[in-house]
């Protein structure tokens, strides 16, 4: 199961994803990202407490890539555990998504330019 919370501070929305994102719970992630894009164009995704993400969960991020580009939404992911980061890396998503270790780095990246 996954638990997703979000809060907005200075026009930047932070989404916190806890637990496991698999085929059945990926719909919640999809809903959360969908509403985040409507609410803000600067999004931080906190993955400190994400234990596992399946290909369906990765598919959610991929499905939104094009939309983010078109809308000019800036999104940065941070705090991944090594295991999760490996999953993103193998698929090549590190080259497409902004992924950092800390929140500060992510903040700096989405605020620049």
């Amino acid at each position: 199961m996954v638990e997703i919370t979000s809060n907005t501070e200075n026009n930047i929305m932070e989404i916190v994803i806890k637990g496991e994102v698999d085929a059945s719970s990926s719909i919640h992630l999809d809903n959360a990202l969908e509403s985040a894009f409507k609410a803000s164009d600067k999004i931080l995704v906190n993955l400190h407490k994400l234990d596992y993400i399946s290909s369906a969960g990765l598919g959610v991020f991929i499905a939104h890539l094009q939309e983010m580009k078109e809308k000019g939404v800036k999104m940065a992911l941070f705090g991944m555990t090594e295991k999760v980061r490996q999953v993103f890396a193998i698929l090549g998503l590190e080259e497409l998504l902004t992924i950092t270790s800390t929140k500060e780095e992510s903040l700096a990246l989405i605020n620049e330019a």
């Binding site: 085929a23 999809d30 234990d51 290909s55 369906a56 990765l58 598919g59 959610v60 991929i62 499905a63 890539l65 094009q66 295991k83 193998i90 698929l91 090549g92 998503l93 080259e95 497409l96």
Partner: protein, 681 residues
Amino acid sequence: MSKKTKIRIIFILGVLSWLLYSFSDLYFIFLKKHRMTETFVDLLPQVFLTMFILSTLFYYRYLITKAESINFMELLWRVFLTGLGTTVVSLLLRLIFNLFSQTGFIKNPVTVNFFYHLYVGLVIVYVISTFVVWKRLILYQKTKNLIQLWNFFEYALYLALIFDFMGHKLQSLMFNVALVFLSTFSVVLSFNLKWIAYLNFRQKWKSILFILLSGIYLYHFFLNLTTYSSTGLLTNDLLDHVFVGAILLFIFIYALIAVLVTLFNLPTSSVFEQKLKEAVDFQKLSQSVPAGQSEMETYEILIDSSMSAVFADAAWIEVAQSDGNKLITRNIDAAEVALLKETSPNENIHRIINLRFTAGLNQQKNFSSLSKGTFRSIFALPILVKNEQIASLVLLQEVSDAFNREMVNIITTFVNQASITLENARLLDDAIENERYKEQLKIAKTVQKSLLPQQLSNNASFDIMAFSMAADEVGGDYYDMIDHGQGRHGLIIGDVSGKGTSAAFNMAQMKGIFHSLSQPGIEPAEFMIKANDALSRCLEKSSFITASYFEIDTTEKLVRYVRAGHCPAIIYQEKNQVILDFQTKGMGLGIVRNSEYEKYVHSNAFHYSPGDIFLLYTDGITEATNPDNQQFGDERLKTALLKYTCLQPEKIKEGIISELYAFLAGKKLEDDYTIVILKFN
């Protein structure tokens, strides 16, 4: 003989016996007048009258069917109509009789008796038909004892017919004894009035009216009979018959008791109707799903039945749904509902109406008074399915202290029934969904299995074996190899994201792409770019495929490859007895769906030597978790491989799989997994 013919024959018999009765009686008067007597003629009118009575009785017994709750009013209506008809005819007779009263004609015994015969016919028809109707009503919901009692009464009446041949006059001792005996029976039988309980308020008033009218007819007939009797000219006075007296009394007694009982039942009839409606509503609630209605319809029935059961002025039901709560209201608007949700009188009600009730909480304090606003009483109940609140039912009254324990019990019963209905509906939906899903899986598995090559061809340069295992949930693992000739081979391993049929079809597309693109001379990078291009156009937005493509050149002992987001291959180098780890870049197919993808394609190559082992796998192996939620991971996979390097691919596979299952310690695999092992010679 059909029922219709029987009725006809009896009717003709009745008319015939009446004619004979009248004729013989008049003939008797004629003989008497001329002072001629023949003893046998004395009895004839009485015999024909008895025949007439019996045929009328059987005629109506056939005609008037069994009483059922739907035809009580019809039966009473029949009594009313028969009474009306016979009374009107008797009034006409009286009019004619009075017209002639001025002349001496009236003093003539023949005329008087003839009119009397007509009159007797009317009285008998009315009295007997009413008697049969009363019988039907008394025997409604009969018991064995009641039937015995009634049969006894009816036989006693037949005996009275025979008794009447003895010619005991009215008021004589024998006559009175017989009459009192039969009347006692009438009184006892008259207390069988179960049918009255099934009448609604309106029907009760109507039946009182009908019965009162039938009493008036009876009185009218009785009055006329005595008038005729007083003329002293009658040869055969009906009032001298115990049978007639008893039946008149019986009709009167039953009518009297029925009117009184109906009258006293009037105030309680609304309660009875209410209870009946509750029962019907309850049935509606339990049947709303088999009739193919949706959840919302069950809620609609629930709110309406609950409101009418406790006389609520307003009510609402709020249903928790993933796409926003649904509100069903009666006589209250959403703003008022929102306000009441804010200002609940106690914690318990507050939890219920805000859909935060948890099972095990006190259900006692769920009705209360409100201090301000239009509504002064509130009553809330949670609708639970599997101990989880899925909706709330709130009833409101404009007066304070409007709800009581009794009402709570009724509504609780309604709500429980609705819960069962809703739960059943959900279970049914789940079962159907599950069945459909299983069917899909079956198809997907069949498709997937047929897409994988039956066997990979070994050759002089290397031994190869592949193994794929589908888990319960079908993924879309794919591997394949094509011989390009001149010692070259194209090899692919891939994993389609998603599950079920869509994954299986995407896998089929991947196979098509592999077989059309993997031609002699194609560069691995070119293969991936073209494959990405093709897949970009057919994969749905959130789907992607990870793959690795290898071009094995056995003459050069060279492997050139591109990794597209797939788990990196593991290479065991025989010479140094180490595992080589190629952490190369590469992006999955279908992620970047334009020419920019080329930027993310990285070509790699390595030389191999005899004895080297090449291990390809899908993430079903590395992501397999044990009961402690630990993943098998690539480190364990590499360690496992190192143990079996001297064996042939088939044995290596067996070794690795047994290591994997030992690690899983009985836990089931959630994803399918594939390994391809290639050992160079």
